[in-house]
């Protein structure tokens, strides 16, 4: 049973800020997590604020800083959008969420704000240094998306703040990315481990700008920056890649008792999937001989 709590669908941002400041208020977007959590009594709001009437949170368009994705854009609309096509890891990651019917309701903003360490659209966003635009009655702040991911179910949104959308910096000409995940079953499942890798051509053969983001292996989705630093500006070799992966794995400490995968498996798969992504993007060779 879903409780008969108060429900309001504001039409303006100003109204929304005031409603979200209220004790016990919860923002409702696509509802694919919120409605499930209400039913399972994991969420006990006094007020549901349905934000789907806010036009400021919609749209996918080119802006001077890159590509704007409104927080309310359904995942499916985003992954099918021509402006998002160059961001392969985002298209692949977003496209792996739930099933088609879920993706038509679930929103990009919701996938972020739910704060799941295994959020499938987030690694692709982090690879491209996406920014989060957060609004409240005192104004807007634009911060790195990675910086608002605090822990499982926790994002850095204060009472009365709302995620308006994300900004993806322009994808560089010739850049590539891939997203891989491992699940228990082929059908609908949450990621047990996921890896997104970005490479700039001729990054793989020549000087590397390789970026790596990991899901479901740390308290939040996160970049493997220490490993990236090892690879930066150097020619990719097997030895260098091993070194970078080992450095990344030092920070990978998956919790025990996960329903989806054991820590040892997750760590092994991080290495395998990083290599698989580079192999794929480099046309079937991992490193130049």
């Amino acid at each position: 049973m879903i409780p008969n709590v108060e429900y309001i669908k504001p039409k303006t941002l100003e109204e929304t800020f005031l409603l979200l400041e209220k004790e016990g208020s919860v923002a409702l977007a696509g509802g694919t997590d919120v409605v499930v959590n209400l039913r399972e009594e994991k969420l006990h709001p006094q007020l549901l604020v349905d934000i789907k009437g806010l036009k400021e949170l919609k749209g996918i368009k080119e802006i001077p800083e890159g590509i704007w994705i409104g927080a309310l854009e359904p995942v499916q609309k985003a992954v099918e959008h021509p402006l998002i096509a160059p961001y392969t890891a985002l298209v692949e990651g977003g496209g792996s969420i739930g099933c088609l019917e879920i993706r038509y309701r679930a929103t990009i903003g919701g996938n972020i704000c739910n704060g799941s360490p295994s959020a499938d659209s987030v690694p692709g966003l982090l690879l491209y240094d996406a920014k989060a635009v957060i609004a409240s009655k005192i104004g807007e702040r634009t911060v790195s998306l990675e910086s608002i991911l605090l822990g499982p179910g926790k994002v850095d949104l204060k009472k009365g703040e709302i995620l308006k959308g994300v900004i993806l910096p322009k994808a560089k000409e010739g850049s590539k990315s891939k997203y891989y995940r491992r699940t228990r079953v082929k059908g609908m499942d949450l990621s047990g481990v996921s890896v997104a890798v970005y490479a700039e051509s001729p990054g793989i053969e020549g000087k590397s700008d390789i970026r790596i983001a990991l899901g479901a292996v740390m308290p939040t989705v996160a970049r493997g920056r220490k490993g990236e630093a090892i690879l930066a500006g150097k020619k990719l070799t097997d030895e260098l890649l091993e070194e970078a992966i080992n450095e990344i794995l030092k920070d990978v400490n998956p919790r025990k008792g996960s329903l989806r995968a054991e820590p040892e498996y997750k760590k092994k798969m991080v290495a395998v999937l990083i290599k698989q992504a580079l192999f794929e993007m480099n046309g079937g060779v991992l490193c130049e001989a």
């Binding site: 409780p3 669908k9 039913r39 549901l48 099933c99 088609l100 019917e101």
Partner: protein, 155 residues
């Protein structure tokens, strides 16, 4: 707290008062009386409650009725025209894609949304459309076959 909502279902407008906790699934079945939309897992996992809302296939168990205010919804009852079955319904019969029948309305609505959006879908499109639907009888082959036949018929 009651909310007045206005929802179009299978072409007819319904004006009703609903509580926040009522799902679109409950609304369609209990308020409007269309019981073709099935209650399966009520958790978004099985696909039995799939309806088409403003052109998109969605899970009626994951949407509150109050959220559907202003929406245009098609349920399985809206597929046929008078006595004439929709090509999908016809092909489901021909291939034996309906056995116990419980998943069938959801499968049909997923197929309908696919045909509406992509008249020439790829194999992957078909798998994507049906991928979130559980069937415990058929083994799925007859269902995807039925959708393929309907695609050919409606081309």
């Amino acid at each position: 707290m009651k909310h007045s909502i206005k929802v179009k279902i299978n072409g007819q407008l319904y004006l009703e008062e609903v509580e926040t906790g009522m799902t679109l699934l409950q609304f369609i079945r209990d308020k409007v009386g269309y019981t073709g939309t099935k209650i399966g897992c009520e958790n978004g996992e099985c696909g039995a409650c799939t309806v088409i809302m403003d052109g998109d296939p969605v899970r009626a168990c994951l949407i509150l009725a109050v959220e559907a205010d202003g929406a245009d919804i098609t349920t399985v009852e809206g597929l046929s025209e008078k006595d004439k079955l929709h090509p999908l319904q016809q092909s489901f019969i021909e291939t034996g894609a309906a056995q116990c029948g419980f998943c069938t309305p959801g499968m049909l609505m997923a197929g309908k949304a696919l045909l509406d959006k992509k008249p020439n879908p790829s194999d992957k499109d078909i798998m994507d459309a049906l991928g979130g639907h559980l069937c415990r009888c058929t083994g799925y082959k007859s269902i995807s076959k039925a959708v393929e036949i309907a695609i050919e018929k409606t081309k």
